[in-house]
Every structure is written in structure tokens, then in C-alpha cells.
Amino acid sequence: MEPFLKIDGVAVPVWRANVDTDAIIPIAFCVNRKRPHFDEGLFHRWRFDENGESTNFTLNDKRYSDPKIMIGGNNFGCGSSREMAVWALVDYGIRSVIAPSFGEIFFNNCFQNGVLPIQLLEKEVEDLVREVETSENPLMTIDLEEQKIGSPAGNHIAFDVNGLRKNALLLGLDPIEATLSQSDAIDAFQKKDRATRPWIYSPGE
């Protein structure tokens, strides 16, 4: 995975509670498709009306073209575990999502794809949304190393991130390779566990 460095770009608000992954990418766009084409489905129902015409949804607003950052409401990315929701964001160019809280599986899927989900207080996010909505240039910066957000008005907001996850993002680590290097420990665990819980290892016997 590509190492995660600084982000400097347009921030787009999707300021609504409980934005679910069905809304982020409808199921029809999840199948029979390959990377990097999942962006076609990104917020499809909100970007287009029944006749395929563009709506006034924020992603269609010229002010927010080519966004790198998304600002969402609480419980952002709740619902289905579909990782295509994150792929759609990445394929569209989004590298970080800021929200008061996240759907847990979505939150985890972000890290797996080099996207940084940032959790701030609801008040802090609301203030950012106001700034982004009212400023001429909705530009923001995110520095993972320093754990700092720069708002359009030039304010700085600190954020927290788990140490293990920060490291993995900064280095672009591959978790499967890391675990495979622990094969001996897995073998040893299974050997010991098989003796105490034999029914786990031979289903139906």
C-alpha cells in the first residue's frame, strides 16, 4: 500500500447523520466491476435523480470539485460491511473522512485502504462544516505525522489516532505479510488449542 503522507486539498461536506454504506455505494455498483471504477457508484442515488440528471448534492457543487477530504455526520459509514464503499471514495480521490463517529466496519476498512478516518467532537465537526460551507476556497490540510488538521480559515485542530494504525498508514504496511511472518505462532496456537477444543478443528465429528 502507498504510504500515507500529508493531504492538501478540497474538503466536501456530507452533513447528515447515519450515512450508510448503501448510500455511499448502492449494491448494484458493487458487482461485476473492478478497481479503480467504483467511483462511478459513489453516492449515486444522491448525485443523480431518476432521470440521471445531476442533483444539487454537494459532490455536484463546483466549489467542491476534486475533493480529497470528506466531512460527514455521526455514524458515518454505518450498515453493510461492503469495502466497496471505501474503494468508491478512494477511486474518487478521497483520502480522509472526518466525522463525529463512524460505522465500525467502515472505520476499519478505511485503514485497510490507506484512508484516514478522523473522529472529532460533534461540535468540532459542525464548525468545520460551517467553515467549509461559507469559505471561498474550502481547502484543508491533514498532517498525519503531526496529527493536525488545518481548516479553511487557518485554524489548527489536533486529532488522535491509534499508534499501531498510524504506523501502518505511514509505512504502507501489508498486514497479511506481517501475519504470515508469524506462521510459527499460529501453528503452535492451533496445536495447543486442538488439544483443549478438538471439536473446533474437525467440524461435524
Binding site: D20, E83, E104, I105, F107, R165, I186, I200
Partner: protein, 483 residues
């Protein structure tokens, strides 16, 4: 500091030596402490459906890898399959390759497949406990958020993304951050004709759709203890709608009875040995969860959702709420959008809202007891004119049992369609779609915009409420119809 990560840190509130059910099971599966709150855990069972496993298998093939423990992997097609009578693998041509490639891959990679045409095929979360694949105290993961369902038999189960599916396939392990524990006690007993679907919708309405975020939930208390296993599976199914990846009911005699003699349950002496282990798992007396909530189960009425999040829910005799009364700006905007999408007016009673379709099915409510609850209401009555009613059993075995005991016939005689097992209208990938602007009462778990079809308006409810609404032609309290 980041709130979520702070939540993840364990606060030791239990007296020394006293452990919660969740903690005991987690600790049994820890292979390596990775630091910063993360562990490498053993995965006892990996279950797959055709949507989220495809990329994983492709990854194995492209990197020359194999399943680390093929015996611990199980699969079934459910999301894209047709549910029409006499359906075949190629009934829906654009998905045929997903079904056939799963078939080829099971031969190549050696996992167990419950294929179309096999009576054991069905919705992944219905068949996992039905087959005895999901077991108490066992970790079970699947690339599907409703994997939390099988916490109903006491499994430690949760939904994972595609990257994690690949990890599990290659290593039979998963890297996870240990969540905090939340115990929800349903005190007192349920009123007559109230189901576990009403319990969980009521709970989500009370606490909110994000309230379980960062927690492993344990459902406890007398009203939970007295539920049968199928009702417990329904209860745990909507844990993800509460915001929790994990929902569990600690195993007891009801669980062991249910699991005895299931095809993949341990047999004979091994079953007895397993039960001895399972009996040590429930929370120790005096052990405390990080957060405790109690709910008066006797106050629960039949529930129905009015909006586009499961937290948008009211009792069936209540009115649709006004966005002006929302307690935050972000919520107010969501309520306004929901009412517009649902074409509903605040202040009006939810019951008597006319409907077009009733869907009884999904991993929430498609087991034999759910079919029985619907048949009880529908017996001797007819689905209202202009309403389409579908009943989609959760597995071939559920279908067979309902046909054998006559409940299928009751439903068919009432005018319901009786279909083949699959996810069907819950996710609307196959031909079972709610047309734009149409209103449905559904026993599934998600009332999200467009979930049951573009522009579809979904009201979530129990099988009894769904069946009563089909017969009335509008959202209807099943207790009214019964008396």
C-alpha cells in the same frame, strides 16, 4: 485524543478473577498481543457468500496461496440468487458466473459449499447455526455485517471487509482491536405477542443507531433467557443496526439442546466435552461490563420504523415525530430528509399508512418460528387487494419444514407468494425489487434509502406485524387482527 480509540481501552471494573462472557471467549482466541489494544485472534469458522468472497479467492489464486484451513471454511450463494420457484444457477444471467465460480472454487480450494439445489442452501446467517457451524464460544467471521446474528448461539461473530476476508483465508486469523463490553439487560417479561424483533427495534429507538459503536454487546436478563434460539438470533441480528459489530447471548441449556445433533455440531463424547467447556463461558457472578443498560421488557409494544435509519422507530400506536423536536442539527437534517424520502407527515399516526408490498424473509426473520408467527396471523384470512405479499424462507430446510407442517399452505392460501431461499427483497439484487415510490412493510433489518430498490419506502417490523399489514392493506397492529 481520538474518541474511538479511547473507547477501545479496557476499563477494569470487575473484581479480580471475575470475567465477562465476552472476555473469556476473546482470551481463548488470542494468539499474539500486538500492542496498542490490538490482538491477533484465531478464527474458528469462516463463512462466505458470493459477493464478498470472490475477491478473496481471486487474491489466493493470484498470489499462489491456498486456504490455510479449508475445513474451517463454508460457503453458500444467497445474495444474487433468484427466489422464483424452479430457479436455476442461470435464472439471472448477469450473476450466473458468481454462482458457478463459487462452485468451481469450492472444488479447487476445498471449502464446504451448500449449493443451489441442495436443501441446506440458504441465507448465510440462517444456515450457519442451522448446520451447527456456529458454536458457542467459537469465533466466526464473514464478509457481511449481519454475521453478528449468530451471536444468538453464543458465538463470537462479526462482519469483516474484503481485505480482512483475504487475511482470514490466508492465515485463519484476524487482527482486531479489543472492544469494550456493553451488557443490555431486558428485565421483566415480554407482553403477549411481542417478538424479539420488537425488542431490538425498541432498543435501537431508545439508544440510537450509533450507541453500540466500539462495544461488544451482550443481551441478558429474564426476557432474553426465556427466548428460544431462533428469537435470540433475530435479537443479535440487529446489533449492527445498534452500531455494534458484535452481539451475543451467553449459551445455556436452550442453546445446547438446539445444537445437539446438528450436522456440523460435535458428536457423542465430543459434544459432551464441548458442553462442559461452554458451561464455563457465561459471565461470572459479580463481573461487570464496561457499560450496563437495563430495559423494561414489559413496556415494549409492536414496533415499526417511519424513516430511513433503524433508529427512526415508533410504537405502532404512536405518531410520526417532528424534525423540530430533534436534539441536534445533524439529526434534524436527517429526519427532514427521511420524511421527504418516505413521503410522510409529522404528527400523523403511523398505523393506517397504506402499503403496497409485504416482505417476510431475510436473515432477521426467515426461520421456521417466523413463518409460524406470520401464518398464525394470516390463517383463514386474505392478503388485501392490491398488496403483494412475499414469504421467502431462510433456507431449504426451513422451506421443507414449513411445507411439511402446513404453515406454507396457510400462507399460500392467504395469497402470499411462497418462494425459494435467498436474501431476496432485503437487498434487492435479484428480481425481487420494490418499485420506486412503493411502500413496503419488511421483516428485514435495513430501511436505508434505496435498500429495497431505488426510491423504495421501507417500514421495518416483525413477521406478525408484517402479516397483519398485508391483510389489512395498511400498517396494522397484529393484536387488533388477532382478536
Amino acid at each position: 485524543m481520538e474518541l474511538r480509540e479511547r473507547l477501545g481501552r479496557k476499563r477494569m471494573t470487575s473484581p479480580p478473577g471475575k470475567k465477562m462472557f465476552f472476555d473469556k471467549v476473546w482470551d481463548v482466541h488470542r494468539i499474539i498481543d500486538l500492542g496498542d489494544g490490538f490482538d491477533l485472534l484465531h478464527v474458528d469458522r469462516h463463512v462466505m457468500h458470493e459477493i464478498t468472497s470472490t475477491d478473496g479467492i481471486e487474491f489466493l489464486d493470484n498470489t499462489g496461496r491456498t486456504l490455510r484451513n479449508a475445513d474451517l471454511n463454508f460457503a453458500t450463494p444467497d445474495h444474487v440468487v433468484s427466489t422464483a420457484p424452479n430457479r436455476k444457477s442461470d435464472s439471472i444471467p448477469q450473476f450466473t458466473h458468481m454462482i458457478t465460480s463459487m462452485r468451481d472454487n469450492s472444488k479447487k480450494h476445498g471449502f464446504t459449499l451448500f449449493d443451489l439445489g441442495d436443501e441446506r442452501q440458504g441465507i448465510v446467517h440462517v444456515i450457519a447455526p442451522e448446520q451447527g457451524i456456529a458454536l458457542p464460544g467459537a469465533t466466526l467471521v464473514c464478509g457481511d455485517s449481519h454475521t453478528c446474528t449468530v451471536g444468538g448461539v453464543g458465538a463470537l461473530s462479526w462482519g469483516i471487509g474484503t481485505s480482512e476476508v483475504k487475511h482470514v483465508m490466508a492465515t485463519q486469523t484476524i487482527v482486531q482491536r479489543r472492544p469494550k463490553t456493553l451488557r443490555i439487560s431486558f428485565d421483566n417479561s415480554l407482553s403477549k405477542n411481542i417478538s424479539s424483533k420488537d425488542m431490538i427495534l425498541y432498543l435501537i429507538g431508545r439508544l440510537g443507531a450509533a450507541s453500540g459503536d466500539g462495544y461488544a454487546v451482550e443481551y441478558a436478563g429474564p426476557a432474553v433467557k426465556s427466548l428460544d434460539v431462533e428469537a435470540r438470533l433475530t435479537l443479535c441480528n440487529l446489533s449492527i443496526e445498534l452500531g455494534a459489530k458484535i452481539g451475543q447471548v451467553a449459551p445455556d441449556d436452550t442453546t445446547y439442546e438446539y445444537l445437539n445433533d446438528r450436522p456440523f455440531s460435535p458428536k457423542g463424547g465430543l459434544f459432551d466435552q464441548a458442553v462442559r467447556h461452554w458451561r464455563t463461558l457465561p459471565s461470572d457472578e459479580g463481573a461487570a461490563a464496561d457499560k450496563e443498560v437495563s430495559i423494561d421488557a414489559s413496556a415494549i409494544q409492536p414496533q415499526v420504523t417511519w424513516g430511513t435509519s433503524p433508529e427512526h422507530v415508533v410504537g405502532i400506536n404512536e405518531t410520526i415525530p417532528d424534525p423540530k423536536s430533534a436534539d441536534s442539527d445533524v439529526k434534524k437534517r436527517a429526519w427532514e430528509a427521511a420524511l421527504k424520502y418516505m413521503d410522510l407527515e409529522p404528527g400523523k399516526p403511523i398505523s393506517k399508512t397504506p402499503i403496497d408490498i409485504v416482505f417476510i424473509g431475510s436473515c432477521t426473520n426467515s426461520r421456521l418460528s417466523d413463518i409460524h408467527a406470520a401464518a398464525d396471523v394470516a390463517e383463514g384470512k386474505k392478503v388485501a387487494k392490491g398488496v403483494r405479499g412475499l414469504v421467502v424462507p431462510g433456507s431449504g430446510l426451513v422451506k421443507k419444514a414449513a411445507e411439511f407442517d402446513g404453515s406454507a399452505e396457510i400462507l399460500r392460501n392467504a395469497g402470499f407468494e411462497w418462494r425459494e431461499p435467498g436474501c431476496s427483497m432485503c437487498v434487492a439484487m435479484n428480481d425481487d425489487v420494490v418499485a420506486s415510490g412503493k411502500r413496503t412493510v419488511s421483516t428485514s433489518n435495513r430501511n436505508f434509502e434505496g435498500r429495497q430498490g431505488d426510491g423504495a419506502r421501507t417500514h421495518l417490523a416483525s413477521p406478525a406485524t408484517a402479516a397483519a399489514s398485508a391483510i389489512a392493506g395498511f400498517i396494522c397492529d397484529p393484536r387488533q387482527l388477532k382478536s
